[in-house]
């Protein structure tokens, strides 16, 4: 079973929408901070300018997308099957999950367990994880981190 990765040129629309959203959000918030006058600018003036720039860029990207849609590729649209999709998606899920686990565990369970969790979870993101090797690395890295950062640099970490 195969599917296309992206609609051919949805990218331009999404990019424009992101910039518009950022711009509007920033501009509205900045006006709330107080604009002041050109002579004596208040807190919100500079951010408001930046927000306006973001809106202009967002509009420009959207308009360009509408006027000059990305040329349709002559080649076959890229088709990938589900294993390939999963292979590409896995690092995007497991690496952030590993980092989140590290952040959540660091001050409660301590450096050793947090490091072990980060290595084990993110290591599974590899295409064909070598589980035995990964487990060894996950056991040794906390020890290494302890030696280098706690014994070596003297950083104040809660170990466990």
């Amino acid at each position: 079973m195969t599917r296309r990765t992206f609609a051919p040129d949805a990218g331009g629309l999404i990019a424009g929408a992101i910039m518009l959203a950022i711009g509007i959000g920033v501009t509205v918030t900045s006006v709330g901070y107080g604009i002041g006058s050109l002579r004596r600018m208040d807190t919100g003036y500079f951010p408001m300018l930046l927000g306006s720039c973001a809106i202009l860029l967002g509009l420009a990207i959207t308009v360009r997308h509408g006027l000059f849609p990305a040329p349709a590729e002559d080649a076959e649209p890229e088709t990938i099957d589900w294993t390939e999709r999963w292979h590409r998606l896995r690092p995007m899920l497991l690496v952030p999950l590993g980092i989140a686990a590290f952040a959540a565990l660091l001050e409660s369970a301590g450096l050793l367990i947090a490091t072990f969790a980060l290595v084990m979870i993110s290591g599974l993101a590899a295409e064909k994880p070598n589980l035995k090797r990964l487990f060894m690395i996950a056991l040794l890295t906390p020890v290494g981190a302890w030696v280098v950062f706690v014994l070596g640099f003297g950083l104040p970490f809660k170990l466990y």
């Binding site: 990019a15 918030t29 050109l38 807190t43 420009a60 980092i99 952040a103 980060l118 290595v119």
Partner: protein, 491 residues
């Protein structure tokens, strides 16, 4: 002469045993991260930042600088042997280096890139020593309007170099500027865009932002790539020596490359990747045998190598004397200096003369160490390339997480890395380049301050930005950069 007195002064700092040790540590680590594709110098800097809290500031900057220019040496190794650039600037090195390796001339290619790197670096260092103090004195004359326009120009240049799509590069500049505003406003004390979170009341951590959009998103996309088969020839010293013919072809190319790289380094916002690309294009244009390029021409290898190393050294000129970084790594370096209470700018050299000259002398030392690391020990680096990425990246993630956490002992900073990692990945997918964001982020507070001061002094009159000749020149250059971007897209 004053210069020699200054250098002698610097030598007293740079040649102490501890400074030599930190210099060695920096360049070696720079070499490691340069050799390994998929890790830039940023993770190495993030990892070593906590260490720098416990050593002298001048030794800290010597070490961090070593990571930066050491990475330029290492970047070419994977380009030549695997056709995979270790750093963005080394992408051009693949064009001639990999064909040479396939031809059985990998040893010669590695030897010549080390020599070319040394030549380029030396040109860059001489420029730093002679030109940086002059530029600093000149920049002392800058008022708020001039400073603001200079920074606008730097951001335009970064956007022009950073990506093929000008609207998207400029978008990243604006997003970076907005992120730089987060935190307490210096003038009024109001908290802006902090969403009531005390952890970001002092602003977002530059290391967390940079590690997210560069480090984590780069690691994720490297994992998704297929691994490469690696088999290497044995290296002996005699096999590394180039022929007289190859020396003759390389020497002028190194000179031209160094000159191009030095100019690119002085320009704020232009990085090593652009310099090496231009140097290659120039060699191609000048060559009488352009049809042989792409098949292992040695001048196409040495010119870009000299260029990116010259840029790496010369880039310290705008970074230290103007406080305007040339690329994302330099932006983080400025952040690191600020952690140590040192603000780069026109007064930096006058206020920290021994630190500046110590750094210059350490450049000489570091580059000689790098040539030693490269030529006799080339076998170590090729073996390093055989370590599978799958075994490395979890360890890199650990180092990054610990490093980022240690800066402020803040778990929120780890979540920021995570958030910006995902953000950087999405934006990269949509064709937005990450480098302009990091540059804009570090410049944002200074830009706002100078913008407000300039308009306060001119009583709200915008013409102050064009009536000052220096400021007008910078804004004119922005227009030129913009036109070049629009024009080159059409070609």
């Amino acid at each position: 002469m004053e210069l020699f007195a200054n250098l002698a002064d610097g030598a007293s700092i740079a040649l102490s045993w501890s400074a030599l040790f930190y210099c060695f540590l920096g360049v070696t680590l720079g070499m490691v991260v340069g050799v390994l594709p998929g890790i830039g110098p940023l993770p190495a800097i993030a990892m070593l930042l906590p260490l720098t809290f416990y050593i002298e500031p001048s030794e800290a900057i010597i070490m961090l600088a070593g990571i930066y220019y050491g990475g330029q040496y290492g970047g070419s190794t994977a380009s030549i042997l695997l056709n995979l650039p270790g750093t963005p600037a080394a992408a051009v090195t693949c064009l001639e280096g990999y064909p040479m390796a396939k031809d059985g001339r990998a040893s010669v290619a590695l030897f010549m890139t080390a020599i070319a790197s040394l030549v380029g670096s030396m040109v860059g260092i001489v420029l730093v020593a002679s030109f940086a103090p002059v530029l600093a004195r000149f920049a002392l004359e800058f008022g708020a309007a001039e400073y603001f326009s200079l920074m606008v120009f730097a951001l335009f240049a970064a956007a022009a170099v950073g990506g093929s799509d000008i609207l998207k590069s400029l978008s990243m500049v604006v997003i970076g500027l907005i992120l730089g505003i987060v935190g307490q406003d210096v003038t009024s004390g109001t908290f802006r865009f902090t969403f009531g979170l005390p952890a970001i009341a002092d602003g977002l951590n530059i290391v967390a932002v940079a590690m997210g959009v560069f480090g984590v998103s780069e690691i994720i996309s490297t994992i998704a790539m297929r691994s490469h088969a690696t088999t290497f020839e044995k290296f002996s010293f005699s096999s590394m020596l180039p022929t007289r013919q190859e020396w003759r072809q390389s020497a002028p190319a190194m000179g031209r490359g160094s000159a191009i790289g030095a100019v690119a380094g002085i320009l704020p916002g232009a990085g090593a990747a652009m310099a090496s690309f231009v140097a290659y294009a120039v060699e191609l244009r000048l060559s009488r045998v352009p049809h042989l390029f792409g098949k292992g021409r040695i001048e196409g290898l040495t010119a870009p190598e000299s260029a990116n190393n010259a840029t790496a050294q010369a880039a310290f000129i705008p970074t230290l004397t103007l406080g305007v970084p040339g690329d994302a790594v330099m932006a983080v370096m400025i952040g690191a200096l600020m952690i140590h209470g040192i603000t780069p700018g026109p007064t930096f050299i006058a206020e920290n003369p021994t630190m500046f000259w110590g750094l210059v002398v350490s450049f000489f030392v570091g580059n000689l160490l790098l040539v030693l690391l490269n030529i006799p020990f080339v076998g170590i680096w090729t073996r390093l390339l055989q370590v599978p990425y799958n075994a490395l990246f979890p360890i890199i993630l650990v180092l990054v997480s610990i490093g980022v956490y240690s800066i402020n002992s803040s778990v929120v900073d780890i979540y920021l890395v995570l958030g910006f990692g995902i953000f950087g990945l999405v934006m990269a997918r949509l064709g937005f380049p990450p480098a302009p964001l990091v540059l804009a982020f570090i410049l944002s507070p200074m830009m706002e301050e100078n913008f407000r001061r300039a308009l306060l002094l001119s009583r709200g009159d915008f013409s102050t930005f064009v009536t000052s000749p220096i400021s007008a020149v910078f804004l004119g250059l922005c227009l030129v950069a913009l036109l070049i971007m629009v024009f080159s897209k059409k070609m």
